[in-house]
């Protein structure tokens, strides 16, 4: 058990540091790389909660596909260096206020409901078991699954239509 806590503490530290690194890097490419790092450590946290499927989905979908797309866009637009940011006076106080509310909520919950939290493993249970997800997807949510397939096809057709060269008619 104590090994788990040490592991968790270390990972949590890395997660927070990589998030801060993402926020404070001046180069957008570094920011994106920090974010990939952040996603990967969160994936390890999922693994510790015995949810291997969600961990792998986190790596392939977020750290893999989405962030590669981000990097492509950053490099294609040549937006690595942060230009003169347009700041509005109310943005920072608002962000601080919202973050304060979030932190207050977390502290309040931890100190008032501390005893009513179930043990980790029990709370997670079988959630994120690939077999279960697959069974749900192909029985209970079959129609939704098929509709999403159609939706993705439409998105592909639309993207190709909008980006195809203008000469091809």
């Amino acid at each position: 058990m104590s090994v788990d806590y040490v592991l968790f503490g270390g990972l949590a530290l890395v997660t927070i540091l990589s998030a801060l690194g993402m926020l404070f890097s001046r180069n957008a490419v570094y920011s994106a790389l920090y974010l990939i790092f952040n996603f990967s450590t969160i994936a390890v946290l999922y693994l510790m909660l015995s949810a291997p499927f969600i961990a792998l989905a986190q790596i392939t979908v977020y750290a893999g596909a989405i962030m590669v797309l981000f990097l492509f866009v950053i490099m294609l637009l040549g937006a690595e260096q942060r230009g003169q940011a347009v700041r509005t006076w109310w943005m920072q106080p608002l962000a601080l206020g919202l973050a304060g509310i979030l932190i207050f909520e977390a502290i309040y919950l931890i100190f008032t409901h501390r005893t009513s939290f179930p043990p980790l493993r029990q709370a997670v249970g079988d959630l994120g078991n690939p077999l279960q997800i697959g069974e749900q997807l192909f029985s209970n949510y079959l129609l939704a699954f098929e509709a999403v397939a159609l939706l993705l096809l439409v998105a592909v057709i639309g993207a190709i239509f909008l980006s195809r060269g203008r000469k091809l008619r």
């Binding site: 209970n140 439409v154 639309g158």
Partner: protein, 482 residues
């Protein structure tokens, strides 16, 4: 399993037809683009036949309660398929004149309709969300169909960004409702709400967020900011289709989810819906007065009509009335479909390249040179005001009756007063057509003129046979009110 497939067969037919059309289109030569349009129309007709053939009065759930086939969905399917057929009729010649005839238009149209039909059948909030995206994404692309024009691109981007934003609201609302009730199935939500086990705060906030998201889709004030720009910038044939289709689908979800799942929250939601309906009617009609561009005028008119249909939702919680109010909303949507497509057919007939011919002044002299077209436009304008003997009058009549029976006299008064205001700007179009001299230029497009003529005849004739139509709509919503 086969019973499930049979229940959602109309959606399957249109979805599969859209996929096949996309592939088949690759083998149709460039100069025979007419074939693609005809094939798409054929698919919609097949969908209509299938829909009428399997129409049922007893509701039947399918796919473990994800979807439901009942009178409500059958009625809406007819509405969506009809708007697809009219959408193709007004688009074909227009796309060629504007030099943007690309055959993807028709498969995107079919995809969008499959999403709308799925929306009408949704019995689970997840399906509501997926259907919302499935109907919206083709519309975003179609709004940007005129890729060489900046305002078309602007319309597509604006519609996409605000649509995605609205989608976020819907998902957040669904998540909160799931948190409160432990399910996304509408039937399960209802039983959780009735047993009182769900937290009312979470439920109300979730319902309000879904209302915001759907309010964007149906263009209700204060979520209407995108409407004038998108309606003006998008190609006119797309605007005609999305003004009816997206609105009807949004209201399908609104009626189904709110009337079915949240009747016990009526004390919190009704004031909200009341204010939304009143604001939408007032702002839509008053801002429309100052418009000089016919596309913007019709955009604000479409906002105002969303307000009238929203009136039907204030009967939430009065179980005896909800069926009547929902039927009135369905009838109003049908009336709006015919009137709106007719009006847009006339607009498209007068539109020339580079966005010329869209000012109301361009309609001067239409009454002398093209009396039939001017007469049709007058019929549509009268129907939009709600003057007898047009179908628009009966739509308003049924809605006001339901609202008055529900005891919302104030809202009905606002509705009547704003209708009077709307007479000013609709009649101005008629005045310009008949009283002012001018040399209007009208496109020779037989399909367009037939669409306008048939819509005008339908608007007049259906007002005489409104009772059976309204009874059909009432039967359609029997389940929704139970």
């Amino acid at each position: 399993m086969w019973a499930d497939r049979l229940a959602v067969l109309p959606v399957i037919v249109i979805g599969a037809w859209a996929v096949l059309l996309t592939v088949a289109d690759l083998y149709i030569p460039e100069h025979r683009r007419r074939i693609t349009a005809i094939l798409a129309a054929l698919g919609l007709i097949v969908g209509l036949v299938v829909n009428l053939f399997i129409q049922r009065h007893n509701p039947q759930t399918a796919y473990f309660g994800l979807a439901i086939a009942d009178g409500f969905s059958s009625f809406l399917n007819v509405l969506f398929l009809l708007s697809g057929l009219l959408g193709i009729a007004v688009a074909h010649g227009y796309l060629q004149r504007q030099n943007i005839a690309r055959s993807e238009y028709y498969s995107l149209l079919l995809f969008s309709i499959s999403g709308m039909m799925l929306m009408g059948m949704a019995a689970d909030l997840i399906i509501v969300f997926i259907a919302l995206e499935l109907l919206s994404i083709p519309l975003y692309v179609m709004a940007g169909f005129h890729r060489d024009r900046l305002d078309s691109e602007e319309a597509a981007l604006k519609y996409f960004l605000l649509g995605a934003f609205a989608g976020g609201f819907v998902v957040y609302g669904i998540a909160l409702i799931y948190g409160a009730t432990g399910s996304t199935r509408i039937a399960a939500i209802l039983s959780a709400v009735q047993s009182g086990s769900a937290s009312p705060i979470l439920l109300t906030v979730g319902a309000a967020l879904i209302l915001v998201g759907l309010g964007f889709k149906v263009a209700a004030v204060p979520f209407h900011m995108w409407t004038p720009d998108v309606y003006q910038g998008a190609p006119s044939s797309v605007t005609a289709f999305m003004a009816v289709g997206a609105k009807a689908a949004g209201f399908a979800a609104l009626l189904r989810v709110f009337l079915l799942a949240f009747p016990t929250l009526s004390d919190k939601l009704v004031p909200l819906l009341w204010a939304l309906a009143a604001l939408t009617m007032i702002v839509g009609n008053i801002v429309a007065i100052v418009q000089s561009n016919i596309k913007r005028l019709l955009a604000y008119s479409s906002i105002a009509h969303a307000g009238y249909i929203l009136m039907a939702t204030v009967t939430l919680g009065q179980s005896r009335l909800m069926a009547d109010a929902a039927a009135a909303a369905l009838f109003y949507l049908l009336a709006y479909l015919l009137t709106n497509f007719g009006a847009w057919a006339v607009v498209i007939a007068l539109e020339r390249e580079e966005g010329k011919g869209l000012s109301i002044q361009d309609y001067a002299g239409l009454g002398k040179k093209y009396p039939a077209l001017a007469a049709a436009m007058s019929v549509f304008m009268l129907s939009l005001i709600g003057v007898p003997p047009t179908v628009g009058f009966l739509g308003k009549f049924y809605l006001f009756r339901a609202v008055l029976e529900g005891g919302f006299v104030g809202l009905a008064v606002i509705g009547v007063l704003t209708s009077l205001v709307s007479a000013y700007y609709y009649l101005r179009v008629v005045v310009v057509m008949y009283m002012q001299e001018g040399e209007p230029v009208v496109n020779r497009d037989a399909l367009l003129h037939w669409t306008a003529a048939l819509s005008a005849i339908a608007v007049l004739a259906l007002s005489l046979f409104a009772t059976p139509l309204f009874q059909w709509a009432t039967q359609a919503t029997l389940y929704a009110a139970q």
